[in-house]
């Protein structure tokens, strides 16, 4: 690439409360180029995209579009300047047709132009045909299959002839055939001289398409280059898989392995038209530590939400012999299935201590005090910060608090969703030690979802691999390195 970059991001920084989401991020995007911005969940890649679009405002740094700094501009102004975004989840106007939805994108931002210009209707039709919506112009969005909704979002984004197109998880929820069609559409954007930024969690999904890949972790750029270079980069491998996979000696669970605590039987979940889980079956025995590994978007969180009664599903989930299907989320939690979500869901304006005490709200006062002391012993930093509002904690501290609050609920089964999300290696070490201690000192059954295999494996008695909503591998952690480590990333 020669000449000035179309989009030039320099030293971009963004904090949310005590969490640093993006720090001193820089990237260049040239006209007629497809760049993949990848990183595990929580790495800050989506935040970078939102910052470029102006959906959130940066704390530091500049974003230059053709030399003009657009950082801190409102989103509508940035859009008018030539930046477009394709959201992962669309919320189209349901009472309007596909054509009218695309026409919307072509309207001027004016209060006085009441009539749509004829040229706009004509252009909307042309764009719709380009992305393959010609057959469904006059249908309503809710009658369309998922892939067509994605096409419509793409059509809206390119309607105004943008210089820069940002695409969030371009292939999420699409079949292999649809992925091919979408790849071709995205290549067309490049050939038309637009700069395209694909934001995705894995290198694999953008490798075939991207001219260049930038990998992010903890809000910073960790690698840049061709897809192959980035995939082989030592830091990237460490971030995704956690470096060299080592099997750590574990104590065998003391009790006999015959009591099934959690039995998941052929569970399927649909989000609208997208199939998020396909006939997933797995079992967890009493006192066993089981992990589900898979990249983001594989369906781990969906599975956990199904267990906790937060999403409707087909199939059966049984806990300690009882069917969980007709129980409310609250009843499931009281039954002893405690979910520690990846989003942490702390009560941000409450203090650390109040968050913990709420977790133990159903306990007798003396038991609660005892439990609280135990959590403080497990995570001493929480004791120091007990009067602080939860949202002002750093990411690692927030994760400890989320885990601590879950433990206050005295779980029989702890469902722990991606505790390493967006955390620095030193914090991972602390969390790892805490989990080790839990296993040593307590009778606890753990179901862990992780992308970071090195974090998950040492704690696991058994491992399941989840890929695109299906269980693709199942076995002892020792076998994982031989059988799975190459195909995983």
């Amino acid at each position: 690439m020669t000449g000035e970059a179309r989009l030039q991001v320099r030293d971009l920084g963004k904090r949310f409360g005590g969490v640093v989401a993006v720090k001193s991020m820089s990237l260049d995007l040239h006209a007629g180029e497809i760049v993949g911005l990848i990183g595990p969940n929580g790495s800050g890649k989506s935040t970078v995209m939102s910052l470029i679009m102006g959906l959130i405002r940066p704390n530091t740094g500049t974003i230059r579009l053709d030399g003009i700094d657009i950082a801190s501009w409102p989103a509508h102004r940035i859009a008018r300047a030539g930046v477009s975004i394709v959201f992962q989840h669309s919320r189209p106007l349901q009472r309007q047709t596909v054509l009218e939805n695309i026409k919307l994108a072509l309207l001027p931002d004016s209060l006085l132009r009441l009539a749509t210009e004829a040229s706009a209707a004509e252009r909307a039709r042309t764009i719709a045909e380009q992305v393959g919506l010609g057959e469904v112009l006059h249908r309503h969005p809710w009658t369309l299959p998922f892939a067509d909704l994605r096409r419509m979002e793409l059509a809206k984004a390119v309607a105004r002839d943008p210089k820069v197109v940002l695409i969030d998880e371009p292939f999420a929820g699409l079949t292999a055939a649809e992925i091919k069609i979408f790849s071709d559409l995205i290549r067309t954007l490049r050939d038309e001289g637009r700069a395209v930024l694909l934001v995705d969690h894995s290198v694999k999904s953008v490798a075939a398409l991207a001219d260049r890949v930038i990998a992010m972790y903890l809000g910073e750029r960790i690698a840049e280059g061709s897809a192959e270079t980035v995939m082989q980069n030592e830091t990237v491998r460490r971030v995704y898989i956690g470096g060299k996979i080592e099997d750590v000696e574990r104590k065998a669970p003391s009790t006999a392995r015959d009591a099934t605590l959690l039995d998941i039987d052929e569970v399927e979940v649909f989000y609208g038209k997208a199939n998020a889980l396909e006939r997933v079956s797995l079992r967890v025995q009493q006192d066993e530590f089981v992990s589900i590994v898979g990249l983001n978007g594989a369906g781990k969180t969906t599975l956990f939400n199904a267990i906790s009664g937060l999403v409707p599903y087909r199939g059966a989930i049984r806990f300690a012999g009882g069917d969980l299907k007709n129980l409310s989320a609250a009843a499931i939690a009281r039954a002893g299935v405690v979910h520690c979500p990846e989003t942490r869901e702390l009560f941000g304006h409450m203090s650390v201590r109040e968050n913990l005490e709420l977790g133990g709200g159903h306990l007798a006062k003396t038991v609660r005090q005892h439990k609280l002391a135990w959590v403080f012993d497990l995570f001493p930093i929480l004791e120091q910060r007990q009067a602080q509002a939860a949202r002002t904690l750093s990411g690692g501290e927030q994760q400890m608090l989320a885990l601590g609050r879950a433990l206050m609920m005295q779980p029989k089964l702890l469902v722990l969703d991606e505790p390493t999300l967006g955390l620095a290696p030193v914090i991972l070490g602390l969390l790892s030690k805490a989990i080790e201690r839990l296993r040593r000192e307590h009778s606890l059954t753990l179901l862990l979802a992780e992308q970071n295999v090195t974090f998950a494996l040492p704690h696991s008695d058994r491992v399941y691999v989840l890929d695109h909503g299906r269980i693709t591998w199942h076995g002892e952690p020792a076998r994982f390195a031989d059988e799975m480590s190459t195909g995983y990333l």
Partner: protein, 307 residues
């Protein structure tokens, strides 16, 4: 769509013609009820523009109505200005008041906007009580001029006004601006990413809503001959407007007008029930909101779309 549109147009035309002929066989008493109901219909349509399209819940439609009504009443009673001038001044003051309220309030998110609008009603009510010298306070004030003393003429004024407002608001809702407004109301982030200044469009919607509310409020007091807190400002009036709009159907504009007429006429016909009257009307409204959250017209519209 064009089929529905044309069918809708003919249905509306038939209803308007029938409504225009009603004075030939209805009593003056019933015409009086319908006249008030038509002004109420404009209130509800103006409210639906905010709730259904801009996606903002305005708990204080009577703030805008009251501003229009009291400005007109004060100018007429204290300064003797002609009705037309008073109505225009009322509409203008409602728009100014609306902007003064909306610009700061739209900076707030979620339920706070609604709360601010609710507080505005209470403030206006208090101002009227405090400045009783020129506003008549809690007793209200009488205006010397009225639109007409003939029930038929008053009825036709109200009907013409309702039809005009319905045509303008419905046209606006179907226009390019209406499309942008719907997008802003349903997905503000998405609309901004498409290059639309969401705040600008919402403030404009608030102004339009204020314009129609204020004009209708001013017209109403020249029909009734009095302005009082209980008829144009009280929160219970605001609640009735909201119920009427939701009953008729969110995002339909015309449904709001039908809902208002239905609500007021039903109230009147159930009057023999005494205390039970309000209860029955409220129960019907509750049932519609629970079982047909899109309202009666909204429900019919969805069915025809799905067929």
């Amino acid at each position: 769509m064009s089929f529905f549109r044309s069918r809708l147009f003919w249905i509306a035309a038939v209803i308007v013609v029938i409504a225009a002929l009603l004075p030939f066989w209805l009593s003056a008493y019933l015409l009086g009820i319908l006249t008030a109901a038509y002004y109420f219909g404009v209130f509800a349509m103006a409210w639906d523009l905010l709730f259904g399209f801009a996606g903002e819940v305005n708990f204080g439609p009577t703030f805008l109505i009251g501003l229009g009504a009291y400005t007109a009443a004060i100018l007429n009673a204290n300064y003797g200005l002609p009705i037309l001038v008073c109505v225009i001044a009322g509409a203008f003051s409602a728009v100014v008041g609306g902007i003064l309220l909306a610009v700061p309030a739209l900076r707030l998110r979620g339920p706070y906007f609604g709360l601010v609008t609710l507080v505005a009603v209470l403030l206006l009510q208090n101002c009227i009580v405090i400045f009783a010298g020129i506003t008549g306070g809690e007793i209200g004030m009488t205006v010397p001029d009225v639109l007409s003393i003939d029930a038929d003429v008053n009825y036709w004024y109200a009907l013409a006004f309702l039809v005009l407002c319905a045509a303008l608001l419905y046209g606006l809702s179907r226009s390019a601006v209406g499309l942008i407004l719907q997008a802003s109301g349903q997905d503000a982030v998405g609309a901004a990413a498409l290059g639309f200044n969401v705040t600008k469009h919402k403030i404009a919607a608030f102004c339009v809503s204020a314009l129609f509310s204020g004009t209708a409020g001013a017209m109403l007091i020249f029909y009734m001959g009095t302005a009082s807190i209980n008829t144009v400002i009280d929160v219970s009036i605001a609640v009735q407007i909201i119920i009427a709009a939701v009953l008729g159907g969110r995002r339909t504009i015309l449904g709001a007008a039908l809902g208002a007429v239905f609500l007021i006429v039903a109230n009147e016909f159930l009057r023999p029930l005494g205390q039970l009257n309000t209860f029955v009307v409220s129960a019907v409204a509750l049932a519609v909101i629970l079982f047909f959250p899109d309202g009666l017209i909204g429900y019919a519209l969805h069915r025809s779309e799905r067929e």
